[in-house]
Amino acid sequence: MAAEAVLDIRNLVVEFPTRRGVLTAIRGIDLTIGRGEILGVVGESGAGKSLTGAAVIGLLESGGRIAEGEIHVCGRRIDQLPLREMQKLRGRTIGAIFQDPLTSLNPLLTVGDQLIETMRVHMPLSRAGAMARAVRLLQEVGIPSPELRIAQYPHQFSGGMRQRVVIALALCAEPELVIADEPTTALDVSIQAQITALLKRVCRDRGTAMMLITHDMGVIAETADRVAVMYAGRIVEIGPVASIIRAPRHPYTKGLIGSIPSLTQRSERLVQIDGSMPRLNAMPEGCAFHPRCRFAMAQCRRERPPLMPAGTSEAACWHLNGEVSHVA
């Protein structure tokens, strides 16, 4: 399994040195994504989802650094690569898609120019060859009359169409792994499902592994194979989507699932998680979630729970030992 993993993150710690001391934003994450697998990463804003993705592709904002741990992609350790080596991997081995399609494309270059330059940086293609591939790729991501659209500028595309272009750009050099950071959050609700379905289809067709970052459990339920739930810089639950949606173990996961309207329509009661995530410089003792947890007990305040096996998944909660107390 480990040898086959496209992405293998081991004990990742990301820090930001600030004037008031070092902030630890990612506090030890382990995860793997297999070939063709879609791993959803979910959690509230500030949980550390984007940082995890940025660390993998080596684009942490200046100041941010990987303080501990290792990142392996296709069996190769990449977290200490020199810039030039990392640039060869970006786009070619690891593709990235960001949140806002309106601002992700250079306004002064045609869509075709941006596709062609990316392909030609990574592959030995003539301009004409790259052009032909670009047209096919635009077709594949569902852009009508691509041979005309390829000569157009980003402002001539709608938001949804632009995100399709962004997807084409992320996939144009045929990466093994795609990191999609909230790819539909900025889009119109009516288009979100289309884009998510498109992402899923193109990754399936190519056997590309994907880390799909979102704060929307609904998107995960429809798209991902497995899911990692993040809270305050750690994974608090990870496992197959089906079993986690059906039987979440961590109280935080239960709260997230409770907030999907479509999944709770019948239950009438929408589970809310009161309070907000602790700030990085004010992490509570013990379980980081305990101040918001309805089930918190003495041990939760004292000791931090590690990820523990729970059926087909793993969760970091002391209550896994004594399920009874969950019934509130």
Partner: protein, 330 residues
């Protein structure tokens, strides 16, 4: 696209007509030229003859039309001061000023832009800090101080370069250039540098500030995430998006320099328009002042139109018909 180009040219023409009107009004309200030009003993017949020669016997509208028609032919009348043809006075001076200003602007762009890019992409490095410091000094020292320092070092001490004048010039019809003779070129070095130093610093600071902003944008981040090498990210993606303000400011700077090259021209005794204008003001030499106003305005308007056209060329968003959004320097 073509209609937009035409509209901008139409605007330019409208502005020039307005300027011509102002220039014309200067004549109307600032005293009687006949009084100024002739001495007190002149006879009434002499006065009337001059009045007719200057077209002052016509009505207001006719005079304005005449003024514009003549201006279009490069005829701005004769100088009150020395009775010479105004246009030939200006034609002697204008090439010198334009050459000085354009050469120093080209120096400024070709040094200022690369330094600005460097200071942005190597932000925080010792060299970038040094550059930023120098640029701060560069924008704060007046150009005449630099001019005098240059003269002291390179003319007085080292005796490498001439301290004043324009050297030998080559004539092309009514145009003159010093760029084709060795003495012309060496005479241009110091005045151009002393004008350029401010511009280099200014453009460098502008490019650095714009680059730092553009380097933070999502599309630059996405370009990096696609594995584009720094060369492409910095120049093709980032710098291109910084060019609008640079074009705007360069346009304004060229206009300013032509209008106010006076100080540098005085320091280096450069035979340009600045000196001509000072003399015209002291003598209340109306035709020269009006012609100067028209020509400097024509330069401003031309530069602005070129700047607008460069916008259309660089930014596809502005090319769309009906796009009213424009770029403005901050």
């Amino acid at each position: 696209m073509i209609s937009m180009v035409l509209r901008r040219i139409g605007n330019a023409v409208a502005v020039m007509v307005a300027v011509a009107f102002v220039a014309f009004m200067i004549f109307q309200f600032l005293g009687d030229p006949v009084q100024l030009m002739l001495n007190e003993q002149a006879s009434q017949a002499e006065r009337d003859a001059l009045r007719i020669r200057l077209g002052l016997d016509q009505n207001f509208v006719m005079q304005f039309m005449l003024f514009i028609t003549r201006a279009l032919h490069g005829d701005f009348g004769i100088s009150y001061r020395n009775q010479q043809d105004v246009m030939s006075l200006i034609a002697e001076r204008f090439p010198a000023t334009l050459e000085l200003v354009l050469v120093s602007t080209i120096i400024a762009l070709s040094i200022g832009i690369p330094l600005g890019v460097y200071a942005a992409i190597r932000k925080g490095s010792p060299i970038a800090r040094l550059l930023t410091m120098f640029s701060m000094i560069g924008v704060s020292i007046p150009s005449f101080v630099i001019g005098i320092l240059l003269i002291l070092i390179f003319a007085v001490q080292l005796n490498w370069l001439p301290a004043f004048g324009r050297g030998d010039v080559v004539h092309f019809g009514s145009w003159t250039t010093g760029l084709l003779t060795p003495s012309g070129r060496s005479a241009l070095v110091m005045p151009a540098l002393s004008l350029a130093l401010f511009q280099i610093s200014f453009i460098m600071r502008l490019v650095t500030a714009e680059m730092l902003e553009v380097l933070r944008t999502d599309y630059v981040k996405f370009a990096r995430a696609r594995g584009l090498p720094n060369r492409l990210v910095h120049f093709r993606h980032a710098l291109r998006n910084c060019l609008m303000p640079v074009v705007t400011m360069t346009g304004m700077m060229i206009g300013d320099l032509i209008a106010f090259a006076l100080v540098t021209e005085t320091v280096f005794q450069w035979p340009g328009m600045g000196q001509l204008f000072v003399q015209a003001v002291m003598f209340i030499d109306m035709p020269v002042m009006a012609a100067y106003l028209m020509i400097v305005s024509a330069m401003f308007v031309t530069i602005n139109t070129i700047v607008d056209l460069i916008y259309l060329w660089v930014d596809p968003r502005l090319r769309q018909a009906g796009a009213a959004r424009g770029y403005h320097a901050h």
